[in-house]
Amino acid sequence: MEVGQMQRQWMGYMKSLFMEGFLDGQFLQLQQLQDENNPEFVVEVVSLFFEDSERILKDLSFAVDQQSVDFKKIDAHVHQFKGSSASIGAQRVKNACIAFRNFCEEQNIDACRSCLQQVKQEYIHVKNKLETLLRLEQQIVAAGGSIPMMEWN
């Protein structure tokens, strides 16, 4: 595949991620912060997000499984996850976290357990999407092309 085709494929994929709500404008901000001096910025932030998310999900599973549930602690973890997903532009994960926090406030453990599953699912979804996107970017760069600038209004 030649570079132009790859770039068009990338644009199509990005557009779909936005249309389906997986990503929001914040992700574009990340792309804009990447330049020739920091060509790996997006990959680095996203990798960090994956690592951090996995840690938080582990902590959340532990907290939710306790005999005596500490809702404050659960809420603190979800707050963290909401923050990091918002910073990346992972909109659906962020929204799932917002819903989760509401149930923490209500101290509804069953709803919390269900929310945790939701958040996990959304995270896995966006992780797969981002990995695919970044792979496409790698291919473009390897073929000597550059990653198009996208605008989303």
Binding site: N38, D52, G83, S84, A86, S87
Partner: protein, 151 residues
């Protein structure tokens, strides 16, 4: 290691989130700021030389032109850090900016009343960071006016 490079402004960024630290550092560096990023208010105070049990404020060679801190942090909050900075002899004139993921008017007002220059809602944008230069230039002019002429 606390010296400002040439005429570059040195910003101390404080955030317990590793991702937000990375983001704010990149945003600040894009604006040509020199950045020191730490993950807690306690570390920030240590960096400035404002340690609890030491009566005098050491580390006179630390040259920080602005502090930007997250509000919600475990242990000491950004608000506590703001207060400590504003209460200190050596650092009260350093502009402090607060960041928060939560839009709570009472929180915002508290911070502004305590002396914060700006309150940014997270995720912080380039347009927010662009608001910092005027505060820094104002501080620098003030600093220069207060210096005895020693060329």
């Amino acid at each position: 290691m606390g010296m400002a490079k040439d005429n570059q402004f040195h910003v101390l960024a404080v955030d317990d989130s590793i991702i937000d630290r990375m983001l704010i550092e990149r945003l600040l560096k894009t604006s040509s700021f020199q950045v020191t990023a730490v993950d807690s208010a306690t570390k920030a105070l240590k960096f400035l030389g404002l340690v609890e049990d030491v009566a005098s404020e050491i580390h006179q060679d630390v040259d920080v032109n602005l502090i930007i801190t997250d509000y919600c942090m475990p242990g000491m909050t950004g608000y506590d850090l703001l207060r400590k900075v504003k209460e200190s002899k050596s650092f009260k004139d350093i502009p402090v900016v607060i960041m928060s993921s939560e839009n709570v008017p009472s929180r915002i007002n508290r911070c502004l009343e305590e002396g914060a220059e700006e309150f940014f809602l997270k995720p912080v944008q380039q347009s927010d960071v662009n608001k910092l230069k005027p505060h820094l230039l104002k501080s620098r002019v003030k600093e220069e006016q207060e210096q005895p002429i020693n060329n």
